[in-house]
């Protein structure tokens, strides 16, 4: 995968390892919409509770790591498995125009809604011509 990663640096997030997980992290499904005041980010994180969620914004890089809480209990016999315990990791780059103090996050039923507010300097302004 190093070939892909060298071509597309942001794709590296899809295969990097979370610290405490032996399994490679996977990129969750997500959607970003933009408005005048900011961005709305929706990330699908099934099985992730608030305790397992970590959101950091540093150096123009928004990183969302979600560790799954609902792991299979010990001692059960698995008859069929399609899910994985791998953590979710999503790394999105931005041009540092987001005001981190105004970021709002809500996690409900395995879906994270993140409201990113644009810094005042980045909002569109009307300039009056004199």
């Amino acid at each position: 995968m190093s070939f892909f990663n060298s071509l597309i640096p942001t794709a590296a997030g899809a295969v990097s390892c979370a610290e405490s997980e032996a399994l490679p992290a996977r990129r969750p499904a997500y959607e970003v919409t933009e408005s005048d005041s900011g961005y709305n980010l929706t990330v699908t994180l099934p099985g992730v509770s608030k305790e397992g969620l970590e959101i950091t914004d540093e150096g123009g890089e928004l990183r969302i790591v979600g560790k799954r809480a609902g792991k299979l209990p010990e001692g059960v016999v698995i008859l069929h498995r399609e899910s994985t315990d791998a953590a979710f990791e999503l790394v999105l780059e931005h041009d540092n125009t987001i005001d981190p103090a105004k970021t709002e996050a809500e996690l409900k039923d395995g879906v994270l809604h993140l409201k990113l507010t644009k810094a005042e300097s980045a909002k569109p302004r009307k300039i009056a011509v004199t």
Binding site: M1, P46, H80, R81, K108, G110
Partner: protein
């Protein structure tokens, strides 16, 4: 033993066996997802991952259904199969659309279908199917907590 009725080959199994790793699939999904930005929905309707496991007392069916309200989940036992149905409303550019999900899972005969319970937490639906001595095929509705 036939456990799961596949309606379609799920994306997770399509490349299975040939590459032995999901890395390439992830990369391809990412590349196509980027190229078709705004065209591919975040989560495709229809299929969702299901796990089937058991301990000495119960059989469990676990399904990933993020972003679904409890009212929109329907769990039914139909003649030895567990039917899972759910729907989710999504906002689109044209307004609101409803995405439906459904799976039919064949379960062991020795399940006491009148004692089935279901719980939904963090976007994961877990259905607990207690065992019984003899099986009696019947259809019941199960309330979701």
């Amino acid at each position: 033993m036939h456990l799961i009725n596949y309606r379609n080959a799920s994306p997770a199994t399509r490349f299975g066996g040939r590459y032995g790793t999901q890395d390439l699939e992830n990369e391809l999904n990412w590349l196509f997802g980027t190229a078709l930005n705004g065209f591919v929905p975040p989560v495709l309707g229809g299929q969702f991952p299901v796990d089937l496991y058991e301990d000495k007392d119960n059989t469990y069916v676990r399904a990933e259904l993020p972003g679904v309200t409890r009212d929109a989940i329907s769990v039914e036992m139909i003649e030895g199969s567990l039917s899972l149905q759910a729907s989710r409303k999504e906002k689109t550019a044209e307004g609101e659309s409803t995405v439906s999900f459904n799976r039919l899972v064949s379960i062991p005969d020795e399940v006491a279908s009148d004692k089935v319970t279901a719980a939904y937490e963090n976007g994961i639906l877990t259905v607990t199917l207690p065992r019984k001595e003899e099986s009696k095929p019947k259809k019941i509705n199960v309330s979701v907590n």
